[in-house]
């Protein structure tokens, strides 16, 4: 990579557009509740997402209790089990991970990392949160409507999602679809903000190729989400019409409980195409921000520049683009035309290449680093282990013919939990331990953090690694009880019980984390402005936590990329992005 000459670095042009006056809160309400400050909105998003996530966590305990000890708990029957898996999946994927990565991390980090005072449309940003909150409340309400929440599985496949053989057919499914529609409306308002802010509000000197990878990850994920969520939006609207008005978008001529139904002429497969046209990019909407965060955690805590920055950026963009042409790998055994299998298996396995490059570059960043085994670093290491494991099992399921025996078995459940459950949540935790000092001004407790990491990492691995083998055995997913079979040995039930115990332990470790979040808010060690010695702009704010408008009087000017760690000849082992070049430092300055 070419080092740019000194005079170039210094010659950053003056801003062409003057600053726009921010909205300043006038009361407690507009400061903390109906706030237009992205940082407050980020905290609101995060707290809401984690609260509804706790519900999903409790649901997973219920599921594990049933699977580990079938028949023991009279308060879980087949219908409830289906309702639990449906709500658990939907909450975790959309209302927790998507909202937390984009609404939480995105809102907090984008303006700070690109050197902006706030998001470009603060009012719309505020609306985004309130619509999201409404979506969460509608979703939570399904637990209390007659018939309970829908038990159609998080994929909501028609016809069964809206027919009477499925729990929650009366109100649950209607509320679920309404909530999804609201979520997408809310997300679109936020998403436009994130994209425009990255493109338009970067401070002087912050070229696209100097952005921290966290911003690249969140930015690309948001662009993808803006393109993918509309497919879910129309699918939800059409399914709602099928359910409420008796249209037949997805409903062929069929029999409902022995009677010929009023439906006819629709296509159930069409729903699956729409769902997965959203659903596959969704995997990467959750993964790309995690990729970005992990890159920055590894670089900062190994005191070393991220290896192959440009390749990392292009890998993110390539993965984002490719993820729109692989959706039907979720449908190899759906009954779509079998020749689709050739195309989608090929595109799916091609994605493995840019993804593998990212993994190589993370571990190569560790190589010859100065690795501080802080809690964020531990979570980053845990992320790599679980992500590599889950990514590799993706090569089984993506390779069409290998998918045939494994699809709809516990192997799939194990795979996607590893790759888009455990791995992204490792990035979330790592990110929280890393940025909590900036958000609150205090450090999270280290001992509790390490306890949280080891129990979560080892425990989750102990739950999901053996689960693959239940799938190989042929155990289907979405069974509340496998019952009598000739092919599942008794020992598999012991394995299930073991996994359940591990899952409960992991669950309780999260309570330690929540305690740490609250306790450290008051009793945590004072953090100072830049406790990790990090280079990116959010650590260079004049105040910690950053005030309204982020930067005081003057916006920062960026002279270098975000990865000038351990630059030869520099006095310290990091050079902030906004530090002007001097002779000694400029040697390592990177475009």
């Amino acid at each position: 990579m070419v080092d740019i000459p000194l005079d170039h670095v210094a010659g950053i042009p003056p801003a062409e557009v003057g600053e726009v006056e921010l909205y300043h809160p006038r009361s407690w309400w507009t400061r903390y509740v109906f706030s237009q400050d992205a940082k407050v909105i980020a905290v609101q998003y995060s707290i809401t997402a984690m609260s509804i996530g706790m519900v999903a966590l409790v649901l997973s305990w219920m599921m594990r209790l049933q699977l580990g000890f079938p028949g023991t708990f009279s308060f879980i029957d087949a219908n409830q089990y289906l309702q639990f898996i449906t709500m658990h999946g939907m909450i975790m994927v959309i209302y927790l991970l998507t909202a937390l990565f984009l609404g939480g991390f995105g809102n907090y980090l984008i303006p700070l990392m690109v050197g902006a005072r706030d998001m470009v449309f603060p009012y719309v940003n505020m609306l985004s949160y309130w619509v999201y909150l409404l979506a969460v409340l509608v979703l939570a309400a399904t637990f209390f409507v007659p018939g309970g929440p829908t038990g159609a599985g998080w994929t909501l496949y028609p016809p069964q999602a809206i027919l009477s053989g499925t729990p929650g057919q009366d109100w649950g499914i209607v509320f679920m679809l309404a909530s999804l529609i609201l979520f997408i409306i809310g997300f679109t308002m936020g998403g436009l903000n994130y994209v425009v802010t990255v493109l338009q509000a970067r401070t002087r000197g912050m070229t696209l190729m100097r952005l921290p990878l966290t911003v690249w990850g969140i930015f690309t994920a948001t662009v993808m989400a803006l393109l993918a969520f509309p497919a879910l939006f129309v699918a939800s609207v059409m399914l709602l019409l099928d359910r409420l008005l008796g249209t037949s978008f997805f409903m062929p001529t069929l029999v409902e409980m022995g009677q010929l139904s009023k439906y006819g002429g629709g296509s159930p497969i069409l729903f699956q195409h729409l769902f997965w046209f959203f659903g596959h990019p969704e995997v990467y909407i959750v993964a790309l921000p995690a990729f970005g965060i992990i890159s920055d955690l590894i670089s900062t805590h190994a005191r070393k520049n991220i290896f192959g920055y440009r390749m990392m950026v292009w890998a993110i963009v390539a993965i984002g683009a490719l993820s729109f042409v692989v959706w039907a790998h979720h449908m190899y055994v759906s009954g779509m035309h079998p020749y689709f299998g050739f195309f989608f298996a090929t595109t799916t396995l091609i994605i493995a290449i840019p993804t593998a490059i990212k993994v190589y570059n993370w571990v190569l960043t560790l190589w010859r680093g100065d690795i501080h085994l802080t809690v964020p670093m531990l979570f980053a290491l845990g992320f790599i282990v679980t992500f590599v494991n889950g990514g590799l099992t993706g090569l089984f399921l993506g390779n069409v013919v290998v998918d045939v025996p494994l699809s709809d078995t516990m192997f799939v459940v194990a795979h996607f939990h590893m790759v888009m459950g455990i791995a992204p949540i490792m990035a979330v935790f790592g990110g929280i331990y890393h940025w909590y000092p900036k958000v609150t001004g205090r450090m999270l407790n280290d001992v509790l953090g390490k306890f949280h990491f080891w129990v979560t990492f080892i425990g989750a691995y102990a739950v999901f690694f053996p689960m693959h083998y239940l799938g190989l055995l042929g155990m289907p997913r979405r069974y509340h009880d496998i019952g009598e079979t000739s092919f599942v040995p008794a020992s598999a039930h012991d394995l299930n019980a073991f996994m359940s115990v591990a899952a409960l332990i992991v669950g309780f470790a999260q309570l330690v984390f929540l305690f740490n979040l609250v306790w450290s808010l008051f009793k945590g060690k004072e953090a100072g402005g830049n406790p990790w010695g990090a280079t990116s702009l959010e650590w260079q704010t004049p105040e910690t936590p950053p005030g309204h408008g982020n930067w005081g009087k003057e916006l920062p000017i960026v002279y270098r990329w975000a990865y000038d760690y351990s630059v030869p000849g520099a006095a310290k082992d990091f050079v902030p992005q906004n530090e002007p070049p001097s002779g000694a430092v400029a040697q390592g300055a990177h475009p």
Binding site: A78, L82, A152, Y157, P159, Q160, L163, G165, P252, T253, L254, M257, L260, G266, S267, A302, R303, N305, F307, G308, V333, F342, A345, L349, I350, A356, I357, V359, N361, R368, G369, D370, I371, L373, L381, V385, V388, L395, V400, V401, V404, P405, D408, I458, P466, Y469, L470, L472, L473, G474, P476, I482, S486, F487, P489, S491, Y563, Y565, P568, D573
Partner: protein, 277 residues
């Protein structure tokens, strides 16, 4: 030190679990051994990559963890290394994809001598239909479904009159003969899943899907539903009995045809009518 060791132990434990745990796929009973082979190949390649990445990571943590005075190296990129790694990955991907696609081609190419067998899914039971002496299945339509004609067979189709209908009972198949399994649902999505056959495919109301296989050993195998179909999804069971051709024909002889079943119903109804008058 401890962190590196634990990371390494995770990889070693995974490999040991894979090798020594008793949980592995059930012995195969169809011609799809190629699928198992492709999975095995994939296990070898991905397993090697997994161990290599974790071992390298553990080495880095051990060798380069922070010590007083250590300073990280500064190397933004290494084009050559990145390209070699990409090419190596691409080779690994091709090594898995190519055999996968070849086997998929076999999977979707039904041999000409395969016999049709229809499987009908409904909440929450399985029915089967086998062609009669003419070797052909009659047409069906969901709109014809009634309590007299639960599978919606076309009463005016001459091909369908001798079709053998097995309702809510075991399916028998002759060993060693290729079968094209036609899959039909009359209500919601189902999936005809016999773990020992390795093959599976969703059944969709409104269309007929299929796969083919050749049963390779005799025995009794569980049929499960692998696509969520509502409250009793987990209880939607049946059995497939693969047997020698002679036994199969003996079983087939005893089954009722569509004509017999519908004729018998007409008789029963007529008798009822007379009785009530």
């Amino acid at each position: 030190m401890a962190v590196a060791l634990i990371l390494l132990l995770v990889a070693i434990a995974s490999v040991l679990f894979h090798v020594y745990s008793p949980w592995w796929w059930t012995p195969i009973a169809s011609n799809w051994r190629y699928i198992d082979d492709t999975i095995n190949l994939t296990f070898w390649i991905t397993g090697a990559v997994f161990c290599a990445v974790i071992a390298f990571m553990a080495y880095c943590v051990l060798r380069f963890h922070h010590k007083e005075g250590r300073r990280a190296a500064y190397n933004p990129e290494n084009k050559k290394l990145e390209w070699w790694l990409s090419i190596g990955t691409a080779i690994g991907v091709v090594a898995m994809l190519a055999p996968g696609l070849v086997v998929w081609h076999q999977f979707v190419t039904v041999p000409a001598d395969a016999t049709d067998v229809e499987v009908v899914g409904q909440q929450w039971m399985w029915s089967y239909r086998l062609p009669g002496k003419d070797g052909r299945l009659g047409t069906s339509d969901a709109r014809l479904i009634s309590s007299e004609n639960p599978l919606g067979l076309n009463p005016n189709d001459p091909n369908g009159q001798d079709d053998v209908v097995v309702q809510n009972d075991d399916l028998h198949l002759p060993v060693g003969k290729p079968v094209k399994v036609l899959l039909r649902s009359i209500d919601v999505l189902h999936d005809f899943y016999v773990p020992e056959f390795r093959a599976k495919m969703d059944m969709i109301p409104g269309s007929v899907t299929y796969y083919w296989l050749t049963p390779t050993r005799t025995g009794t195998f569980d049929v499960l539903c692998a696509e969520l179909c509502g409250a009793a999804h987990a209880q939607m069971r049946s059995r497939v009995i693969v047997e020698e051709e002679k036994e199969y024909h003996a079983w087939l002889e005893k089954q009722r045809t569509f004509a017999e079943l519908s004729g018998q119903r007409d008789v029963a109804k007529a008798a009822y009518k007379t009785g009530s008058e």
